[in-house]
Symmetry: C2
Subunit: 93 residues, 2 copies
Amino acid sequence: MSDDNVVYVGSKKGPMDYVLAVVTQFNRGSEDVVLKARGGAIGRAVDTAEITKNRFMQNLEILDITTGTEELENEDGSASNVSSISITLGESN
Amino acid sequence: MSDDNVVYVGSKKGPMDYVLAVVTQFNRGSEDVVLKARGGAIGRAVDTAEITKNRFMQNLEILDITTGTEELENEDGSASNVSSISITLGESN
């Protein structure tokens, strides 16, 4: 899967910005779109998937959800662990 | 599955409180434990699953993750939608 299919969800924009990004990817012909988020943005990635499915693309399915742990380097050089999520969305036939 | 296997993750306690609840459920003989969270606590549910798996129960697997949308009634009687997550954890053989 090319990185073109990935929408990175952060904490600064509202869910609707990410919903628009997902819908745009499908309209450009992507067969699936992967939402990726870390830490405090994980809930927003779930919001994005649910809003897209319920309000904009009724034939959308959540194909897969995986979680992970990533190590981030702090400003002082120490390391922190942060959880991550990947939500794969695809259109049903 | 009985409700005894469900750990509801909120925003008030730290992740370690929920990790302890999950480990306790398995120690009492549960074959699987389901973490449930809504809205801002969704990220904490993912943290709980990841910390339990990585630090406390190396034979733990995430068996299933599902998301949903629930309608909450506000104090003024209006309704708001909130996303939810269910993470099913089980021990691998």
